[in-house]
Structures are given as C-alpha cells and as structure tokens.
C-alpha cells in the first residue's frame, strides 16, 4: 500500500507551473466572506471570471476529456491541481456547479456524440454554470416519484412543474433536470433527463429561506431556490439518455453525488476549531489545555480523519478503476452524520460562542455558527442520511437470498 502520491520530475515541474499560474491569476480577496449582497454578487462574478480562465487551460475540470474541452489530465496531475487550489482556499470548480461533475459525467456515459459536442465544452470551459434539479415538493427521497412533466410535442418537450432545494445564489445558465416523460406510466420507466437553457420563458426562480448560511464559493453552498416551470418549451435534442430511460441514467448521477468520486483535501472546520481552542481561554485556561475539551477535540479530530481516509479510499477506487460496492453512500452517510454530531460536540467544547455571529463574542467570521447550521442541513441534500443507509444495505446484500449477488451496483 502507498497512501502518498509520489511525483515524477515532470509532475513537480507541473506543480511549479500551476503554482506560478495561480499566483498570477487568482484575484486578490477572492476567498473573502462577502460583506453584503452586492459584494456577494461581485465576488461570484470574480469567481466565474476566474473559472473561465481555468477553463481555457482545461483546469476547471482537469479529468474531463480533452476533445470536449476538459483537461484530459491523469489522476496525479489532477491531484496536484486540487492541492494547489486547496492551498489558496479554493476548490475546482471554484463555485457551485453541478454541470461538470454530475451532469457532464452522465452525458459522457449516456449522451449522443452531438449532445456531447453541444453540451460539454461550455461546461468544461466555465462558460456556463449549471444547477441540478431533482427534488420536488412530493418527491424527495422517493426520486422516482417526480411529477414535473415533460410532454413531447413535435420537435419539442413542454415542461410543467416545480422543483425545490435548487442551486445557490446568483442564478444559473443551464439546468440539468429529471422529469416525467410519461405521466401514469410504469414506475422507473417513465423518467428522462434534460440539459436545458435556464433562461427560457416560463421558468421562474424564487429563493427559499432555509437554515443554512454561507453561499457561493465552495462545493456546498446553502442558498437554495424553488424553480417553477410553466409550459416551458425545450428542443427534443435536450433529452439525454433516451426517453423514459432516466432511471438508469440516474444511477450514474446518483453514484457520483453519493460520494463515490471521493475527494482529498483538508478539513477547514477542524483547522479553525483547533486554532480557536488554542487561542480562547475559559477560567483563565486555554480551552485546548482543559482535559474535557481536549477529549472532545480528540473525538472530533478522529472522525475528521476517518472521513478523510474514506474520501481518499473512494478517490483511489474511482481513479484506479477498482470495483465498488457500498463505499460511495458510506462516505456520504459518514460525512453527513459526522457533521451533525459535530454540531453537538463543538457546542460542548466551545460553548455558546459557537452559536453567535457577533464579531466580539463569536468565532472569527462566525465559522462555528456556520458549522452549526450547515452540519444540520447537510443531512438531506444529495439523498438523506437514511437513504444512504438504504443504498449501503442494498449493495452489501443484507437480507438478500444467496442467489442474489451481494455488493453489486445497480
């Protein structure tokens, strides 16, 4: 076994090139916490502009195939890019985008050549941002029950319905969605995916007020929206993966969303929490020197390390093309439950300072208050923690007859 990525001279040269390029091109203050809505929008525009620069070099989606505008890079070069971006507090892509990782990956598997040519390059070059639309008021965990209808009419489909818990701040260019193409049809055989323009007549976006805070920047923003579709006409060409074949295509999307891709990178909440406890005193003694707090910190640290290792394992499984079973939903489940558990553990370690955004009595940039909110709401997106367990159980083959193969992905 080797947990370390070792680099050749060529790769080290690449790291130097990336570092120098980032130093010259990352706009100053891009990782700032916006002071108001106008600043948030300004920052988003800076991130998008920076995304386009990355996209020109194929570094926005470094693993994506080169013929469609991706970087065509191997795992090791991708890791170098992600590490260098991480050093500067950035992710790839540097803003919320469901286009490349989820939609793009599905299109690569299920799209026609014409669709790949049409949809993928703008995504990989950072020219468009995409939101994914899955959940509806009546279809959350039961995704197969979506009722937003897409009815064929000549060379078009006409979409009517409502999607919730969508996207982030500042709108989107494209929509990647699942809809019902045969209302009343057989369950699992009446769904299809669409990649459509977000600015068509009949589409209305309305913000939802939810518990999370944060916003644009990382991969998990928490501003969410309701999207209404009122007789929205889209070209038939936008249907990806075959009419009524959407449930099968969904498996590609959901597998990725459930953490199968894995990831590498530091846990920023942990880094800041430790620093906070090293600087903050209670009864004249630094928190980190108080045995009860120290014990809680050790438990938090270990869970973040296990999470890191699960992510590293999944990353390796994906890129070494190893067989997978329950590992994707396991990482997702562990991440969600650790985040939720940490809200209580941090409250125990730090006290009510974790709950206020007040600059005097709270934590720097209210990072702890943000964790309290986000740790709670992160339990549901991308499939609830309970759904992850259902998915794990199925793949492990718990309770299945011996004739059914255990651990198969389907």
């Amino acid at each position: 076994m080797d947990f370390e990525v070792t680099y050749t001279d060529e790769q080290q040269r690449f790291r130097g090139e990336v570092r120098a390029w980032l130093a010259a091109n990352v706009p100053a203050g891009i990782t700032r916490k916006p002071v108001d809505d106008a600043d948030s929008l300004a920052r988003y525009r800076e991130l998008r502009a920076f995304g386009r620069k990355l996209g020109e070099r194929g570094w926005l989606y470094p693993r994506a195939p080169k013929p469609y505008g991706g970087g065509g890079l191997d795992v090791d070069h991708t890791i170098i890019l992600e590490e260098e971006a991480d050093r500067l507090g950035l992710t790839l892509p540097p803003y919320y985008d469901s286009g490349g990782r989820l939609g793009g990956a599905t299109i690569l598997v299920w799209g026609t050549e014409e669709q790949k040519q049409a949809f993928l390059p703008p995504i990989y070059r950072g020219e468009v941002r995409t939101w994914q639309l899955l959940t509806e008021p009546g279809a959350g965990s039961d995704l197969a029950g979506v009722t937003t209808a897409a009815i064929r009419d000549g060379d078009e489909y006409v979409i009517t319905g409502q999607k919730i818990f969508v996207g982030s701040d500042h709108g989107t260019d494209r929509i990647w969605m699942i809809a019902c193409t045969q209302p009343g049809g057989k369950r699992h055989e009446n769904l299809s995916w669409f990649m459509i323009d977000a600015n068509l007549p009949g589409i209305t976006v309305q913000p939802m007020e939810i518990l999370g805070t944060g916003g644009e920047g990382g991969s998990d923003p928490v501003q969410k929206n309701t999207v209404f579709f009122d007789q929205v006409r889209v070209p038939a060409f936008t249907l990806v993966g075959g009419e009524n074949n959407g449930w099968k295509a969904a498996s590609t999307h959901l597998e990725l969303e459930h953490g199968a891709g894995g990831r590498i990178g530091r846990n920023r909440v942990w880094d800041r929490l430790l620093a906070y406890c090293q600087q903050t005193k209670r009864d004249g003694v630094r928190l980190v020197e108080q045995q009860d707090t120290r014990d809680v910190l050790a438990d938090i640290y270990i869970k973040t390390q296990v999470m890191r290792l699960f992510g590293l394992r999944n990353f390796w499984l994906t890129y070494a093309k190893q067989p997978r079973s329950y590992e994707g939903p396991q990482l997702s489940y562990y991440r969600k439950m650790t985040g939720l558990w940490m809200t209580g553990a941090i409250l125990e370690a730090v006290g009510p300072a974790a709950l206020t955004t007040d600059p005097t009595w709270g934590s720097p940039e209210a990072f702890l208050e943000q964790q309290q909110r986000n740790g709670i709401i992160a339990v549901h997106p991308g499939g609830t923690a309970d759904i992850q367990r259902v998915s794990m159980a199925r793949r492990i083959g718990i309770g299945r007859g011996a004739r059914e193969a255990a651990g198969t992905v389907h």
């Binding site: 076994m1 080797d2 947990f3 370390e4 990525v5 795992v75 430790l274 406890c277 090293q278 980190v288 120290r294 014990d295 910190l297 050790a298 438990d299 640290y301 270990i302 390390q305 296990v306 290792l309 699960f310 590293l312 394992r313 390796w316 070494a320 190893q322 329950y326 396991q330 489940y333 562990y334 367990r389 259902v390 794990m392 159980a393 492990i396 083959g397 718990i398 309770g399 299945r400 007859g401 011996a402 255990a406």
Partner: protein, 374 residues
Amino acid sequence: MDLALTESQELLRSAARAFVEREAPGHVIVGLQREDSRLPAALWRKAAELGWLGVLVPAEYGGSESALTDVAVLFEELGRGPLPGPFFSSGVLGTLTVLEAASQAQRRAILPAVASGETVLSVAITEPNASWGASGITLRAPRADGHYRLDGAKVFVSDATEATHLIAAVRTGTQAEDISLLLVDARAPGVRARRLPGLLAGQCEVTFDGVAVETAGLLGERENRGWAALERALLRAWPVLCSYMVGGCQAVFELSVAHSRERVQFGVPIGRFQRVQDHIIRLVNHLDAARWTTAEALWKLDAGHPAADAVHMAKAVSSEAYLEACNAAHEVHAGQGSLVEYGLVPHTRMSRTLFSYLGDPRWHKRRMADVLEW
C-alpha cells in the same frame, strides 16, 4: 497512491486464510475459549514451519524480517478466527522488544529460538493498578550477588501460561522512567502464571515469589533504558494488534450479513428490516474506520514517516470498532449469537480483552493529542 495489497501480500493472505480454516476451524476456536485450554502443539509447530513466528526476526537470526504491512496481512487473518495464542505476544511484541532493548549477543541467543517456536515470549508490563504508562510500573528489582530479585505480581499479561520466557518491566531507579526489562525463565522457581477467569482471552496473572534473575537477563547492557525501548517496540506492535482486530471486525461483519440472509422471521429474511440493516451498517462503518486508520499507520511506519499520532489513533479506533462491531453483531444475531458454539462469542471475548490491552481508547486519544502538540 495505491491502496491495494501487493501480489505477494495477496498470496500470503490466501495461505494464512487456508491455514486458519484448516488448522483452527470453528470448533477448535470455540474449544480454545476454555480456561484450561492450550494452543495445540502441532498448530504452533506448523506455524513455525511456515515462518510465521519469525516474521519480524532479522534474516540473520532465521526470520523473514518482513515489513509491518506484510505482518499485518497475516495478523488480519489470525484475527478472523480469532485464533488466540502467543502469535502477537511472542512474534510481534516480544520480538520487537528484544530487537529494541537487547544487546547483539542477546538477540543472537534469543531470536532464532523465537522464530523456530521453541522460545515463546510474553511481555509483562501491567500491574494491579492497570495503568499503561511508566508510572504504572512499581515492581522493584533489587540487585544483589549477581542477581535481580523479584517479588510481586503482573496482571493482564497476554499468553503468559504459554510462554517459555517472560520479559518483565521492572523499576530499577528513582526517576519516572527508570524502568528495565528482564528476561525471566517462566519455569524458574517462584514464577507462577495463571490464566485469569472471566470474559478475557488469554490474559494472565504472573506472580514472582523471590525469583532470582541473573544480571545477564537484563536486556541491553545498561539499566533504566527499558521504557524507551518498550515505547519504540509498542509503536510498531500496536498497529499489528490493530490488524488482528480488523480481521475480527471483518469476520463478525461477514457472520452478520450471512445471518441476515438466512434467518427468517415474519416470513422474510431479517435483513429486510431496516432496523437490522442499521446494525450492520454501524458495524461496517466501524470496520472500515479501523481498517483504514490501521492501514495508514502501518504505511507511515514502513515508509519511515512520523507515525505516532496515526498509531495512537488506529489503536483507539480499532479497539472501539471491535467492541462496537461485536455489539452490533449481537443485536443482529439475538439468541443465536449468545450460543457459545456458534462462533460470535470468541470475538466478543477477544474484543473486550483487546479494548484495554496495551492502552484503552481514551488513553490512546490523549497520547495522540500530546503527539500532535495541541
């Protein structure tokens, strides 16, 4: 980065699994739970012939001097049994302690016989106060007439009844870490080893009643160097013990999945019930946490990276994991799991024993925090 086993590790794993299944099938493991049981001599001899008692012994002394990652592959398979016996006590902790503490001449005298299985080592650290730090060692060894004299007791010593020689940690000075390590013939007059009754696996009491140990039995040439040597040995031994626990978790996981398919209640296999599924998911999450923290600690040691924080974390995580895995398995199995002949109970017993053996989770977490210099 490559998280797969190497080809030779895969071969070792198959050989070890076949060996345990052939030489120590379920009924043998169950039989070894009895307090008066002993590991069959033939099994020990066959393990020696396969070279498994000398995996950490240098080649010049008849061992294979394997990397810890390789040793861990073997111990994961032993842990699946769980095959008890002094494989770890002699072949890992005992061997590493000799390597870290003993003089060249002592190594030459001791290790070939360890690799061949004639000498069986057991390291006696803990005393009745059951602390794992240097301060827990109070057994004094006054020296007179070319001998150390031992009067006192060690408890929770693994496999002492199977050992030909004990390595006893004794206090030989006034400073906190003035600890020395003495090699004591287990058959010397005044030495008595007794297996402790109860929900323990292979843990013993050792009493020393006026035992005279020749000064040549001091490992290394100088007194008061034992604690540092023991710490270095433990650093490498802990993750191998973790691998044994990972093997235990894996076996308990497989038992539980199989039971969830076979046991029918209310007309369906019980694994169809989400409450039952939840037990197994809790189990597999603990299993994988133990597996990957352990694997990373082993890799860091083999690669020569600073590893102490990772090692303490792995022991804390694996000890908790094995205990929790067994708890989850008992919830899945209900009455079936409590039947001694079924095969879950040996794991339950072992998980409890290893939970605190060589440091419980809380102790290791605190050490980890210290190493990380929080």
